[in-house]
Amino acid sequence: MANNDYELIVGLEVHAELSTKTKIFCSCPTEFGAEPNTHICPVCMALPGALPVLNEKVVEYAVKAGLATNCEISKDSKNDRKNYFYPDLPKSYQISQFDKPLCNHGYIEIEDDFGNPKKIRILRIHIEEDAGKLNHNEFGSGSLVDLNRAGVPLIEIVSEPDLRSTGEVDRYLKKLKSILQYIEVSDCKMQEGSLRADVNVSVHKLTEPFGTRTEMKNMNSFKSISRAIEYEKERQIYELEHGNKIEQETLRWDDLEGRTFPMRNKEDSQDYRYFPEPDLVAIKLSDEYIENIRKELPEMPESRKERYMNKYGLSEKDSNSITSSKYLSDFFEKAGEISKNYKAVCNWLNSDVARILNEKELEPEDIPFTAEELAEMVTLIDKGTISSSIGKKVLDELFENPKAPSKIIEEKGWIQISDENAIKEVVLKVLSENEQSVKDFKAGKDRALGFLVGQAMKQTKGKANPKMLNEMFLEELKK
């Protein structure tokens, strides 16, 4: 196929909503999901005479993001106006940064498709304000404007066109999301739109310069981004193979139809008439300010990974999966600390919990139970109060109807039988019912023991202490 002659080139502009308590230019709350137009004031609804005042936390968070992605932090930065008309943009300009962004020239390290380390360069990170939201009017024609989101702080992280496959794009986005979560500047909740990406795609033959790119705006699902890039790559190759030129244009990805549609081409691209925001003063940062933020950066995934391997004896693979999400990693550390059994906690998280999350299409943040509850379950197993097979049932219950595992097993009657007489009674019953297996065992077939233990488990509905069962069977069989 001719496809193999083409290389995919992708660059991303990622918008992340910052998790500051208040908006970027006023003191309205940023909280998601409030009644429409309840988090607004003269500033964020652009009443005549209102003026913006830059929220210092926004600068701090952006500098944090810059440092965590190996950027140079600009000591002399400023805000600019980006002018365009749209009903969700109350001032008719967005306060953003044009030629002097806060952070420049960083990188994020990911693995390429062959597992080798690869640096994806970051061109810049700048701060800007989010726009409001248009809601279709349920009660009549037209749309309704909700300005709760107007003025919520964003950082835009612009990568160089260094990504070469959907795998790299996916790993870059996941890494970026994890970094932003680790440094606690954004919750990156994609379903709430707090992480969105503009995706720039082009293809070229290796012997030729980069091709013309198209842009897909405002994508907020990793899956859609991968699908859209694959589609767009094939489309562009098809066009080129048929002698057509790629137009520089903005496209809209339709997830249901699985294809892109043109939104606007270069000719009707807007002239944003950027100019320095005269209502705000220049952003001047001292070396000391930047160094203080650098010092306060939290432990990053790489360092946690090392610690998990060295201190808790986790494998590299396990450490990688646990640290891929800050939430999961924090959850792991808390449950480990309480139960003092880090390995068991890790196993539960990476196997059964991961499987259930995957089945339910949930993120680690959506785990309905607490680290304390998982820790208690691990401790109950360690103490022999329940078996690990009961543990799996407890976990299912924790997902369905979370409460203290001790309470669950009490209510469900899942407490392990560790009473010697009760166990002996079962063992003797099983032995008398399975004479053939006894014979087999005595004839040297060790497998028979497993069968007998299984039968005993069946009769006790999994509640018998497996260790005691084992020992008692051996004792009786040797008689």
Partner: protein
């Protein structure tokens, strides 16, 4: 009661203190005066006289009960209609905001309220402060109390006419390129444009953010110092307001002028400046020499470059600042539209007047990609140059003395059809805004028509006390108010 309304604020303050007058008597006197003369002048867009009268009674009660009150409590004022006032219309003299009521007070209005100063109403202006004659008001045309066939100047024409006509004891105006000083000159009153950043802009409907300043228009220099004392100071709601130590601008007024060096930049007296204006200023220079100041001719060649830079920067910022008037959330919305684009286009076409549209188009053009460097960026370079030239001048002189306007108040309609000629009326004032320095305008004489001639004194940044001192001593010497009064001639 002409006698009460003829008093300055510092005189009213004395009379209130000595129980010679009550706030109600003062307020009533002004309301009577408005009822008598406002129909000839049309200075107000909105009158709040009933509310003012009630407020004055309340303050008199409080004063009787020996409540702790500011010395200004119960003094009336007029407010330019581009300063937001909670519950009272703020129209900017535009159809766009004809029925707009702000839910909040501008910081300067808040400061007036805190002092117990009572607003008599909102004063007419050129639409969105764009103009030099108040003829660009979409609401009404204001007449000059000295000659009703002439303009009061602009854009704070309503404020200057109201002070000159004794409708209010003092007023707030705003100045982007001369909008306080030129109408003050045309109406024979005192107007002060403070240093950029001395007074909060929060709640001032923005025309050109990097140039706009709120300032006093008063009967005399002392009243300007008093009003500046009230409105100046850092405001955390305005990032461009400076955090400088608060001064008492009354302290320096009486200081002797011996040792004061006044520079007279010859470029401000060149081509286009009316002969009679020049004559009055030359007389003023002689007065200063008599008062013991050193007066020297100097060179400060910034006026023409500033005017060009001004119309680029001001229009660029205005084109962006006025984007919010889109018919979506508040203000005028066209009745007929079939698409979002039509909603925008029709609302703005019908809601804005010609001069506003002209400046939005100019501003949009100079910011367009491909033109930005040639216009906006170059204008910013000119701005730096002008600032440096002023710095040089202030290394030699305490204040600079120039005309305010090339002419005295012109006839209504005289320059309406020639925007360029109208723009030239700002030639002596815009460089002050470009350089962010303060300047005061005060009357120094009258021309052969009996129209007041204004003198401009420019100071270095945050040195308002110097220009107030130099202005005050002059005022004491020539006693303009005692010798000249508006005639309301038709």
């Amino acid at each position: 009661m002409e006698s009460i309304t003829n008093l300055t604020v510092h005189e009213l303050v004395e009379k209130l203190k000595n129980n010679e007058l009550t706030s109600e008597e003062i307020t009533k006197a002004y309301i009577d005066r408005i009822n008598e003369k406002e129909k000839d002048v049309d200075a107000f867009v909105t009158l709040t006289t009933d509310e003012a009268l009630n407020e004055s009674k309340k303050i008199d009660e409080e004063r009787k009960e020996n409540k702790e009150l500011s010395e200004y409590a119960g003094i009336p004022i007029g407010i330019k209609d581009n300063l937001c006032t909670k519950g009272v219309k703020t129209t900017c003299s535009s159809k766009m905001l004809e029925n707009f009521v702000s839910p909040y007070d501008a910081t300067v209005v808040e400061k007036l309220n805190k002092e117990g100063i009572i607003s008599l109403g909102k004063l007419n202006m050129d639409e969105f402060a764009m103009g030099s004659s108040t003829e660009n008001s979409a609401i009404k045309i204001t007449h000059n109390p000295w000659d009703l066939s002439r303009v009061p100047g602009g854009s704070s024409g309503g404020s200057a006419a109201a002070v000159a006509g004794n409708f209010v004891p003092w007023a707030l105006g705003s100045d982007t390129g001369g909008s306080i000083r030129e109408p003050a000159a045309f109406c024979g009153v005192v107007g002060l444009k403070p240093t950029y950043g001395l007074v909060s802009r929060y709640g001032l409907v923005a025309f050109a953010s990097s140039l706009d300043q709120v300032g006093p228009i008063t009967k005399d220099v002392k009243d300007s110092a008093m009003l500046l004392n009230i409105i100046s100071g850092h405001d955390e709601k305005d990032s461009t307001s400076y955090d400088v130590e608060k001064k008492d601008y009354l302290q320096n007024l009486e200081k002797d002028l011996t040792g004061i060096k006044i520079g007279v930049p010859k470029e401000f007296f060149g081509e286009g400046i009316n002969k009679e204006v020049k004559e009055q200023l030359e007389k003023a220079i002689e007065t200063y020499k008599k008062l013991g100041a050193t007066v020297e001719e100097t060179s400060l060649d910034v006026a023409k470059a500033s005017l060009a830079a001004y119309y680029i920067i001001a229009c660029a910022e205005a084109s962006s600042n006025l984007g919010r008037f889109d018919g979506i959330r508040y203000g005028y919305r066209a009745k007929d539209f079939n698409s979002l684009k039509e909603l925008y286009v029709n609302s703005r076409t019908e809601g804005f007047g010609d001069e506003v549209k002209r400046r939005i188009i100019l501003g949009t053009y100079v910011l367009s990609s491909g033109y930005y460097d040639a216009y906006y960026k170059k204008a910013q370079k000119v701005r730096t140059y002008v600032k440096n030239e002023f710095n040089k001048a202030f290394s030699k002189y305490d204040v600079l003395l120039t005309p305010v306007s090339p002419s005295t108040a012109f006839k209504i309609g005289e320059k309406c059809n020639n925007p360029l000629e109208m723009y030239l009326a700002d030639i002596c004032t815009v460089s002050i805004n470009i350089a962010s320095v303060p300047a005061i305008s005060l009357p120094c004489g009258v021309d052969s028509n009996g129209m007041p001639v204004g003198m401009q004194l420019i100071g270095n940044r945050f040195e308002e006390e110097k220009i107030l001192n130099v202005a005050y001593k002059f005022e004491q010497e020539i006693k303009f108010r005692e010798n000249h009064k508006p005639t309301f001639k038709k």
